[in-house]
């Protein structure tokens, strides 16, 4: 091929391939847009569209917290601080402090995994911007509260039962293969809620 022919061939190739690309671009004028307008132009809140396993800002349901300190030990960056006192006479465990520093938190989910009742769990909330670092430390205990004692049968307290149901659903997500599409074998990841851990916590006191 002569130099002149190659020159014009290059120009022809360039123009045709550009038009091939432009045809793809033009075809997208006819398609549905993929982008989503954030935050206020969709019918439901973004938080409600997130999947169940989404790891957002941590929340604690103190009503079902057994004070076993499993989450505090699992946290690799120590952003959870819990203080528990056990009354030697009445044997009641009291939680006097439960703080989560959500600035330090890296949303890894390692704390919610060992929780026997699902008290500490990730919410679908992710908008956490604030004006001061102090207000970013979530303090869940205002007045000292008695730790939850898991019962043998189903929960009878009407106030706590729905919270525990929510928590146990969260635990079941980690119970391997529980809700799998082909019905995998259930591994006892969430066996005996609280029983061992509470003793362990008591031993630590």
């Amino acid at each position: 091929m002569g130099a002149v022919a190659e020159y014009f061939d290059n120009i022809k190739n360039t123009v045709t391939t550009i038009f091939e690309g432009m045809a793809v671009t033009a075809s997208h004028f006819m398609r549905k847009p993929y982008t989503v307008q954030y935050p206020d132009r969709i019918p439901v809140r973004v938080q409600d569209t997130l999947p169940y396993r989404y790891r957002g800002i941590l929340n604690v349901d103190l009503e079902i917290c057994t004070g076993c300190l499993a989450c505090e030990r699992a946290c690799p960056i120590d952003c959870i601080v819990i203080a528990c006192e056990k009354d030697q006479k009445t044997k009641i465990l009291t939680i006097s402090q439960f703080d989560i520093d959500i600035i330090k938190c890296m949303y890894c989910g390692l704390c919610s995994e060992p929780c026997p009742t699902g008290a500490i769990h990730h919410t679908s909330e992710f908008e956490g911007a604030d004006f001061s670092t102090e207000s970013m430390i979530r303090r869940f205990v205002t007045d000292p509260i008695d730790a939850y004692k898991p019962k043998k049968g189903p929960e009878t307290d009407e106030r706590i039962a729905p919270i525990l149901n929510r928590g146990m659903r969260y635990v079941n997500e980690f119970a391997q293969g529980g809700e799998a599409w082909n019905g995998g074998v259930v591994d006892d990841g969430a066996a005996a809620p609280g029983a061992d851990d509470e003793e362990e916590a008591a031993a630590k006191q």
């Binding site: 690799p76 293969g177 599409w181």
Partner: protein
């Protein structure tokens, strides 16, 4: 004219240059527009991740491995999981291995899509980037449903994976693959076979097969030079020996073998191979548990181990030494991006400054992976 004094100019490209793929600096000695050499200056993103491992223990280190290479965090997860399992001699359940393979291959798709997308953007084609990112977002949505995060997954655990596939996820994944394959052809029509694009990439940064081996390149950079070496195929780990897939290599169709275009096309072809693997994995996945019994207080016996994972950026090595306590004595990560930095000084000699961007993009370096 010969009396005019000319001198070399020293330029700093980066660390905040938008096309250096992270905080990465090049000291460029240039004569006009032609580079004498470009010396990569790494270390801006050093976060002592290897040292952190010695402080947080085996389970606690898993979320940190996400930060080694945040574009394909599944592979770093898997690397650390496999290293710990090898130390303690733990057998991962079959379904767990399949979940791992599915998650990592989806992550490879996401990583390669980002790579080929930014390749176009770095040399001035903005549209392909938005197309690649659109498909990557859908993968992110799938992975978000699988493990709850879009970038720092922390999906794997020592002994398997944290969660099983959610109900209905498999159908969604298969539907995505059906959607993805025609899109890949569309993507090729949009940019890969564009004459201007080919002219920008062909014959730039040619790495011969010998050079690629001598400079210890791995992954698509090595395969772009025509060497068929893939850890998944040659040293099979996990369940990769059960899948039927090809290892694409550069052929030098548009220029000399081992140029930037070859490395780009290897990634495009690997996308197709990953789709192939994913289809087989989603079809063959057995029932069963996904996580082996591993104590919370994990203390592997004293010893050392080295494992290799084929990450999206190539052969990733994890070396761990245990002294029998709950904390690893030493952890070292060997990553593909760091190896790729070594050859830039040599390749840049005589290259135009504008082609340096092409070279970096074609090597697909990720700054946090270089420094850890």
């Amino acid at each position: 004219m010969s009396t005019l004094r000319t001198e070399e100019m020293t330029l700093n490209m980066g660390p905040q240059h938008p096309s250096t793929h992270g905080v990465l600096r090049f000291i460029v000695r240039a004569d006009g527009e032609v580079m004498r050499e470009a010396i990569p200056d790494v270390g801006y993103l050093h976060r002592s991740i290897e040292k952190i491992a010695e402080k947080v223990g085996y389970h606690g280190f898993m979320p940190y491995t996400d930060r080694v290479d945040y574009v394909c965090a599944m592979f770093t997860n898997q690397g650390w999981g496999m290293a710990s399992e090898k130390l303690a001699n733990i057998q991962v359940p079959k379904r767990g291995e399949y979940c791992r393979a599915i998650a990592t291959e989806f992550n490879r798709l996401a990583s390669h899509l980002l790579s080929v997308g930014t390749m176009g953007m770095d040399i001035g084609a903005m549209t392909p980037f938005t197309h690649a990112i659109r498909e990557r977002e859908m993968i992110n949505d799938l992975i978000e449903e699988l493990c709850g995060a879009r970038l720092t997954f922390n999906y794997m655990r020592i002994g398997g994976v944290a969660w099983d596939l959610p109900p209905g996820w498999r159908e969604k994944a298969l539907a995505y693959l059906d959607h993805f394959e025609p899109i890949l052809d569309e993507y090729n029509a949009l940019i890969s076979y564009n004459k201007i694009y080919i002219e920008r990439l062909a014959n730039v940064g040619i790495i011969s097969a010998d050079e690629a081996v001598n400079y210890n390149l791995v992954g698509p950079n090595l395969r772009g030079s025509g060497i068929k070496w893939d850890i998944r195929k040659d040293l099979p780990y996990s369940v990769y020996s059960e899948f039927d897939f090809d290892v694409p290599v550069g052929k030098g169709e548009w220029g000399k073998l081992g140029d930037a275009m070859d490395r780009y096309m290897v990634r495009i072809r690997e996308l197709k191979e990953s789709v192939k693997i994913l289809r087989q994995a989603l079809k063959q996945i057995p029932a069963g548990p996904v996580l082996a019994k591993v104590p919370r207080n994990f203390k592997p016996p004293a010893g050392e181990c080295q494992i290799r994972v084929e990450s999206a950026r190539g052969d990733m090595g994890w070396y761990a030494v245990s002294d029998g306590t709950g904390y690893p004595w030493r952890v070292h990560v060997r990553t593909g991006s760091f190896a790729a930095m070594g050859i830039i000084q040599k390749l840049s000699q005589g290259l135009m400054i504008a082609d340096l961007v092409t070279l970096i993009a074609s090597l697909d370096v990720i700054a946090p992976e270089i420094d850890r």
